[in-house]
Amino acid sequence: MDNFQLSYQQRDSFMHQMSPYTKLLIILSISCVAIFNTSIYVASSLFLITLLSALFLTKISFRVYWGFGKIVLPFVIIISTVFPFFYGGQASMGSEEIAISTPIKDLSWAAITFGALLGLRFLTLCLAGLTFAFTTHPSDLVQNLSERGWDYRYVHAPVLGLILFPRFIKLALDILLSQKVRNLGYGMTSIRLKLLRFRHLVFAMLVLGLRNGQVQAMALDVRGYAAKKDRTYIRKSPGNAFTERLAKFILLLSIVYLIYHFNPEFMQWNI
């Protein structure tokens, strides 16, 4: 994994210039609306806005998004096409008129809308997540949150994780190779072999990874890790007041929408 790369794409775009905290607020707003919303029109609009923002406000090509994001497409298709068959029939999703007849079950417009809603939900969340990852350097995120008063050690932890990640991948590959070399599970059936090797992989990774933990902790402490609350930084963190106000406005809008939406007329719990 010597060529492991972060997903961050260096550009000079509107989104890149937003502070990570601002983007987090926007992600939170989008996520909450996407998860709890039941209006297909809101879902479609949210998806379109997210898509247009991703394509035009980041200076990152669609090919890059496709390269990382295509992996979820099969699952989005599954959930959008399978779940309508199990739809509970709440009227507020759409009309009960039969839209498609299938050998399994006739699907109403409401059921199809339900499937589309789920698909759009995941597409929106994935797109928003990728946009955030592409436009936010992890070090900027750490700095931004720490400057806002979050405990530096906790916000730095994921960065430490990113540094260790490729080493753990390599460790896992070496362990898998060792298992083959040592013929672990000799004579077992295929399923038992896989289970045994998986169990060994996890255990060996834990032992070899965690035993180094004390040295790594010492290495942090001896360099004054979180020694002072008013830590300084060499990086200039991106951000501006306008986008922060915009993000807070979007968050407020999403809260208002969700409160408005939390209404027996719109909610569709099938109790």
């Binding site: 709890f36 399978v82 709440q90 999703m93 932890a157 460790l171 060792s178 933990g213 010492m218 099938n270």
Partner: protein, 790 residues
């Protein structure tokens, strides 16, 4: 029983954070390799029934996360671990980013609430319940996020799923507890009781606050009657101390070598000087450590504020990767300065100076993961240079480097002393290059300190006992002189510590330089003309190009070259572990890519640089037995053979121990033993003598030589030219291709290739070449020729 403290349960120290991060990363890797995200989603194809199916195994996601709670006894550890998992996957480009956070943080928040509610009784039931609750909450999150409540009978299925999750979660929770206990047995450190119940570390006696001895103006460190115990319970028994009555004084602007057998206490002493033991990681001590902070007088370390201690004394650990905590070179150098709240302009000035000093200015914005081994070592040095501690401890700073890289680092260390007046404490096995630059040697033996000695005084006092009884490496030229002394040939009173010293002293004694010298060309006794390995046109783009050679049974072949040039890659290809190449590798005439993996592994054994990576069983006995089982032996034969091999590698008294808790040398012997039980015809070893003292290294090389004499083709990848010179019958030097194939003495004679491959000849060779005019690398031959020349 003390009162339970919620705040302590949810606050983390550095070790807790590191463990949480490691577990989070481990979980991320397992999720990717185990395709857990995909497994979870395929059950959607079955609608609400799919949710119910998933409910049973959703608890597997939480095993690693809650192991952290067992190891560290803090409920906040799992919360941080799941955050790390989600964010690592997110920033690696996983499109599920925000979804992962929702599915991780929401459920685990419920799970960790179990801990304070149960007031940390800490028995298995706690983990069973925590994982069960987390699994139930995870199902709830899935239903919310994936529209489960909108399905027909959605709420009914939600209740069914959550019930199944509670049962499944309970089972996985029990496995969590069981696995965590297994990790502790395998040597993973854990705290024993929850933080709210632990007492503060007791200082038994912290000695005087100020150091008053006359003549101490030059000192930067003074240790007085210092003893240390890892376990406080042992502190009444002096014999159980890991440091016993240490007295040590170090002067300003000096390089001090801390030397001793593996396990003698060198690292323990270093960490006590540093203060991580006992101040941060526990233990009990008696006596005092005095430090000079800036221009002040020597003061007890415990009397200095904690921030001051690490500005006064700091450390570079053996593996630079263990201390890299930032994403880019610049950030890494700035890390400590930022922590101490330095002004931005000051920091930039220090960073610029530090990077220029180590030659990394052009790598300023590079990702730390793509640096070479030498660059990483220079980077961690740069981060210390920026901090400018008065005392810097360096734990084996050259162990991962090629010979030229070692020289560069040691030159930098000398400059630290000369230009910054830094006091250096060096722990190092590479004594040939180190002895000439050090000011004092301090010997640690049985947890006690002896010395100080100058290098020559040390050699005069201990002579060959340093090698034979203490198991230490000594410079080759010193070894040679001491061996000659044993034969009655004395060169002078002072033992030489550099080849040119030896040459200068002995030149007058040479009367008859050897005029004709025909050393054995190779170990031909068991060689036959059928190649064991035949390589034709082997290429790997940008790394190896068009390699053609044959290797024969009974040879002992060294593969060497600069760091990162492709030696390990080449080794893995010829061992049949890597098929990403063009060309062919034939094993006794058969293309290894067409052979079944199992039959290939019967012929070739590969031994990794890190022995632990090869362990697959729970005890030493089982590790060796595993390799024999496939031979179809009877139970009696199996037992006899295992005992025989345990005796051969000196591990009989450790047969019931976990392989992971053995010492480094024991692990290496075990890894070799496991791979030779199948009587392979070819053995490939990656850095066999890495991190080993002289005794352990020699045991291993003698074992390999014996195998080679019996007809096994032994191939070892190494940067250790001493081992190459002494044991290899043939050496391959790699630089994009094989640039040299022949005897070590011919390689050492070829300066152009040596420079190209970042190699340096051994002291033995330099002495033989310059003094006797011959190319010879083996010590015994040089002694014989020297004797004949007098």
């Amino acid at each position: 029983m003390r009162k339970y403290s919620l705040s302590k349960d949810f606050s983390l120290d550095t070790m807790d954070i590191v463990i949480a991060v490691l577990l989070g990363v481990c979980q991320a890797v397992v999720e990717i390799f185990g395709l857990l995200g995909f497994l979870e989603r395929t059950v959607w194809a079955a609608g609400p029934i799919g949710f119910a199916i998933y409910a049973f195994y959703n608890g597997t996601t939480w095993i690693l996360i809650f192991i952290g709670a067992y190891l560290r006894k803090r409920a906040m550890v799992p919360v941080l671990a799941v955050t790390v998992t989600a964010l690592v996957r997110w920033f690696s480009g996983d499109p599920d980013g925000p979804i992962l956070l929702f599915y991780a943080l929401f459920p685990v928040s419920f799970g960790v609430l179990v801990f304070p509610l149960m007031r940390w009784h800490g028995r298995a039931f706690l983990y069973v319940l925590a994982v069960a609750v987390t699994s139930v909450a995870n199902q709830c999150a899935l239903f919310i996020g994936q529209g489960g409540f909108q399905l027909a009978d959605g709420t009914y299925w939600a209740i069914v799923s959550m019930s199944i999750a509670s049962v499944g979660g309970s089972i996985w929770g029990l496995i969590t507890w069981y696995l965590a206990r297994g990790l502790v047995v395998a040597g993973v450190s854990a705290v024993e009781i929850p933080p709210s119940l632990e007492s503060e570390n007791d200082v038994i006696d912290d000695g005087n606050v100020k150091y008053d001895e006359v003549g101490s103006e030059d000192l930067v460190l003074a240790i007085k009657d210092y003893s240390f115990w890892f376990d406080k319970k042992d502190s009444e028994d002096f014999n159980k101390a890991q440091l016993k009555g240490i007295n040590l004084k170090l002067k300003k602007a000096s390089i001090n070598l801390l030397i001793g057998e593996s396990g003698s206490g060198k690292s323990t002493l270093a960490l006590n000087i540093l203060g991580v033991y006992p101040d941060y990681y526990g233990g009990a001590y008696k006596g005092s450590v005095f430090l000079r902070s800036d221009q002040s007088s020597l003061r007890a370390r415990t009397a200095l504020p904690k921030l001051e201690r690490f500005k006064t004394v700091n450390i570079v650990f053996q593996n630079p990767e263990d201390q890299m905590v930032c994403l880019t070179v610049e950030e890494e150098v700035a890390f400590a300065l930022e922590n101490y709240g330095r002004d931005k302009d000051d920091m930039m000035a220090e960073i610029n100076k530090a990077l220029a000093w180590v030659g990394l200015e052009s790598a300023r914005y590079k990702d730390v993961n793509i640096l070479s081994a030498g660059e990483k070592q220079r980077l961690v040095l740069a981060s210390m240079i920026a901090l400018k501690p008065t005392i810097l401890i360096l734990d084996e700073p050259t162990s991962n480097l090629d010979p030229v890289g070692k020289t560069e680092i040691l030159n930098l260390i000398e400059r630290l002393r000369d230009e910054f007046s830094m006091t250096i404490i060096l722990i190092e096995h590479e004594v040939d290059k180190v002895f000439p630059i050090i000011d004092e040697i301090h010997l640690i033996m049985d947890f006690e300190i002896h010395g100080p000695y100058t290098p020559k005084a040390f050699l005069n006092k201990y002579g060959l006992d340093a090698r034979d009884k203490l198991g230490l490496w000594i410079p080759q030229c010193s070894e040679l002189e001491l061996l000659l002394m044993n034969e009655g040939i004395s060169l002078s009173d002072d033992i030489a510590i550099e080849p040119h010293d030896f040459i200068k002293k002995s030149r007058e004694l040479i009367i008859h330089p050897p005029s004709q010298y025909n050393p054995e060309s190779s170990n031909l006794s068991t060689r036959n003309d059928n190649a064991a390995l035949s390589i034709r046109g082997l290429s790997v783009p940008d790394i190896l190009s068009d390699i053609e050679l044959d290797m024969f049974s009974g040879e002992m072949i060294a593969i060497t070259g600069a760091n990162g040039i492709g030696k390990s890659l080449f080794g893995s290809i010829i061992a049949g572990l890597n098929a990403s190449y063009t060309g062919s590798v034939n094993l006794y005439g058969n293309d290894i890519r067409k052979m079944g993996f199992e039959s290939l592994m019967k012929e070739i054994s590969f031994i990794f640089q890190i022995p632990e990576k090869q362990f697959v069983k729970g005890t030493v006995y089982e590790e060796i037995e595993h390799g024999l089982i496939i031979q179809g032996l009877t139970a009696y034969e199996l037992e006899t053979k295992v005992e025989e091999i345990l005796n051969l590698v000196n591990l009989s008294d450790r047969k019931d121990a976990s392989p992971y808790i053995l010492s480094h040398g024991q692990k290496r012997r075990l890894s070799v033993a496991c791979m030779i039980v199948s009587n392979p015809r070819i053995i490939v070893l990656d850095e066999p003598t890495f991190g080993q003292d002289h005794r352990q290294a020699m045991h291993l090389m003698v074992l390999l030589k014996r195998l080679s004499d019996q007809g096994t083709l032994v191939i070892f990848i190494t940067n250790d030219m001493k081992i190459v010179g002494e044991y290899a019958s043939r050496v391959l030097a790699i630089h994009k291709s094989i640039v040299f194939d022949g005897q070590p003495r011919m390689l050492f004679s070829n300066k152009q290739i040596m420079d190209q491959c970042a190699l340096e000849p051994t002291s033995i060779f330099q002495i033989a070449h310059q003094l006797l005019g011959i190319a010879e690398t083996k010590q015994d031959n040089v002694i014989k020729l020297f004797r004949e020349s007098l």
